[in-house]
């Protein structure tokens, strides 16, 4: 009893000490960055008009893929050194996917609390993990919608409700995340399984029970010359697979009901970044993924796999930066899908092929290269960035050039394109008719 009381007293002293350290008056730097002196909140945001034009599928003409106006309001509240809160609301109106849209979305809304070495963030938020550029196998917490059309790639990340906490003991930083409820990535089932005789029915996602929540941990090591992390995720993959209630016997003219279904997985990851020879940035990331359930019996569950990325970045001449990365994947226990002899197995075979497309598991080994070249001209008024990725195993390629011109402070014009290409029966071939587009955007921030 006495020991317990002492422990409680010790904890109380610790928290009082932690809190009082924040009661001290704020420094000039803190005041400047928080504007506490003027008002306890800041209101920022932007207004933008965006137009995406692309080819009509299977026709030789152009169509408006998306055209919308959007207003964003970002509110930030400051509570001296104790914490802050942030929310962003977006109003969008226009045309997307041949439909009229008019929607209000809460992009993010969360509260931060800082108590001594502990930081907490609770709310609807986006989490980005991984030190590689553009492709992060350790980043499995935030769901995505790859069909969102925006000049800003970050808009494809969809915030979900979670609790994020840090324990800071420099140079170590321990991070723990709890995601109470499952939030899926958008899966374009109509593109992946579009043919006659197929019905898309309600997805099979985990309900809001505690046992279905996800958790993740990351230990960051931050040394002056090298930084890195080891991480672990245990939860349902935001990107579900597709499965069906397969008939036991073959029958003609019977519709097949397909539906997205999630699965739980473990992901163990590491990443690092450093500088070698004074002028080369080197970064790497690796993750091993394995599902909880049997992947051989369930076609929507991918095999265990190992993804690894290593890249260098270098400023070749002033204001011209190049990032080159090798991206590899090894699929464990890989078995080539054989065309079934029994017609009753054919729907399962076709759906298994589609699942392999969306989980990038068509091959036992796959090898890709990515390149991001960025050039700043006219004293950073004009920026040209080209991102390209080629998968040498599947022959899929992605090309994303973007030109941004600062007309004035916080007024930018962007011209870009997003081009996917791939041979028949590849993911990029499936999405190219929807996603391939040229876009323009005018954005004013305040």
């Amino acid at each position: 009893m006495k020991i317990k009381a002492m422990k409680i007293a010790g904890l109380a002293v610790f928290f009082v000490f932690a809190l009082t350290s924040f009661l001290l008056p704020q420094s000039l730097f803190e005041q400047a960055t928080s504007k506490d002196e003027e008002k306890p909140y800041e209101l920022n945001g932007y207004l933008r008009g965006t137009l995406f034009v692309g080819k009509v599928p299977e026709k030789n003409s152009l169509e408006i893929k998306s055209g919308y106006g959007e207003a964003s309001l970002k509110l930030r509240l400051r509570k001296q050194g104790f914490g802050d809160a942030f929310a962003e609301v977006r109003f969008r109106s226009g045309h997307e996917f041949q439909k009229t849209v008019s929607e209000i979305t809460l992009r993010e809304a969360y509260v931060n609390a800082y108590t001594g070495p502990f930081d907490f963030r609770i709310g609807h938020q986006v989490v980005v993990w991984g030190r590689a550029d553009g492709w992060n196998p350790t980043d499995n917490i935030t769901p995505r919608n790859m069909l969102i059309r925006s000049a800003d790639e970050d808009d494809r990340r969809l915030a979900n409700f979670l609790i994020r906490s840090y324990y800071n003991l420099h140079p170590f930083r321990f991070e723990a995340i709890w995601v109470p409820a499952y939030s899926p990535s958008y899966i374009p089932t109509d593109l992946i399984a579009s043919s006659s005789g197929i019905n898309l029915i309600e997805p099979d996602y985990p309900d809001m029970k505690l046992k279905n929540s996800a958790f993740a941990f990351r230990l960051n090591l931050e040394f002056p010359s090298i930084d890195g992390s080891i991480s672990y995720f245990n939860g349902h993959n935001p990107m579900p697979g597709i499965t069906a209630d397969f008939p036991k016997v073959f029958m003609n003219n019977v519709n097949l009901d397909i539906f997205p279904k999630s699965y739980r997985m473990h992901v163990i990851g590491v990443d690092f970044s450093t500088v070698i020879a004074g002028s080369f940035g080197v970064r790497g990331e690796m993750a091993f993924r394995r599902s909880h359930q049997d992947y051989e019996e369930n076609i929507h569950i991918p095999n265990p796999d190992l993804q690894y990325i290593v890249g260098i970045d270098k400023e070749l001449v002033p204001n011209f930066n190049l990032i080159l990365q090798y991206i590899g994947r090894y699929v464990f226990d890989f078995k080539k899908l054989e065309v079934p002899t029994n017609p009753v197995d054919f729907p399962r075979f076709k759906l298994a092929l589609k699942n392999r497309l969306i989980t990038f598991q068509q091959y036992e080994w796959s090898h890709s290269l990515s390149c991001r070249a960025a050039l700043d001209l006219m004293n950073e008024l004009l920026s040209i960035e080209v991102f390209g990725m080629v998968n040498f195993t599947s022959n899929e390629a992605l090309f994303r050039p973007k030109l941004t011109y600062d007309i004035a402070d916080a007024l930018t014009f962007t011209l870009g394109a997003e081009l996917y290409s791939g041979p028949e029966d590849t993911l990029f071939e499936l999405v190219d008719s929807v996603l391939n587009a040229v876009f323009v955007e005018l954005k004013a921030s305040f």
Binding site: F29, T33, E222, S225, D227, E315, D409, S445
Partner: protein
């Protein structure tokens, strides 16, 4: 008492001539080194405004908050720069561990990317926030990377200065810093640079720096800071003015500022 006075006078005279002799015997490299040391504060917090004026007179304004502190007996300066405006770069932060004898470690946090990225410190020839200043102008270079020569003495705005030529030891260093030659005018009274002329990699006149309103910030250790720097690009007519609106000497700056944890808290 008379003996005591004579002793004091002798000490003062010796110190005066001694200091004159030591100043006159300083090599170009030593003067440049003292110039770097003269502006190194044990700790400071500043607010500054950068005005970028193009050749047609149009202005763009950026506001910056900076906090810095010396470590390792002054051999390492840790510095955090936070961009406050314009709105589209607000929150961007740059954390630098500036070492005297090796390449710096640098991390950049951009709110749009949502993560901190280690960047290569040799990218010093890059324009700082689209201005005529480069990252190399904002941090003292590694002394051994240049050769130095005293070209003479000259007054700048009434202040007697040494005129010192600084040339990168090889092409790689020149590329990194973005100039083939720099002529610095260093004040004899406080070792603070008052003017500098930059020549581009082809040896052509490129930029001219004017340093104004030098103030003693740490009177005990004789450390100074200018409150205005003007860089004029002689090739394209653009001009960038960096005004320090507030400079606060604070050796007790919190260590937690110089962590990626704080870098990401904007």
């Amino acid at each position: 008492m008379k003996k005591y006075k004579t002793f004091i006078v002798c000490v003062v005279v010796i110190m005066f001539f001694g200091s004159l002799e030591s100043q006159e015997n300083l090599s170009a490299k030593q003067i440049v080194d003292r110039s770097f040391q003269a502006t190194k504060l044990a700790g400071s917090e500043t607010l500054s405004t950068m005005t970028i004026i193009d050749n047609r007179g149009r202005e763009r304004v950026r506001e910056i908050a900076t906090v810095s502190k010396l470590y390792d007996s002054g051999e390492t300066e840790k510095r955090l720069i936070r961009f406050l405006s314009p709105a589209d770069v607000k929150g961007t932060g740059l954390l630098t561990f500036d070492y005297e004898n090796k390449d710096d470690d640098m991390w950049l946090f951009m709110p749009a990317l949502r993560k901190t990225r280690r960047i290569v410190s040799t990218e010093k020839a890059k324009n700082f926030m689209g201005s005529e200043f480069t990252y190399a102008d904002m941090t003292p270079p590694i002394l051994e990377n240049f050769s130095y020569e005293i070209l003479g003495e000259e007054e700048v705005a009434g202040t007697p200065c040494w005129k010192i030529e600084m040339i990168p030891v090889d092409d790689d260093i020149a590329d990194e810093n973005g100039f083939s030659k720099r002529i610095s005018f260093i004040a004899k009274q406080d070792y603070v640079i008052r003017k500098a002329i930059y020549y581009d990699l082809d040896g052509e006149l490129h930029k001219e720096l004017a340093v104004e309103n030098v103030k003693e910030i740490d009177a005990k250790n004789h450390k100074y800071r200018p409150t205005r720097m003007v860089m004029v690009n002689k090739q394209n007519g653009r001009k960038s003015v960096l005004d320090w609106d507030e400079i606060q000497f604070n050796p007790e700056v919190k260590d937690e500022f110089f962590t990626t944890r704080y870098l990401e808290r904007y």
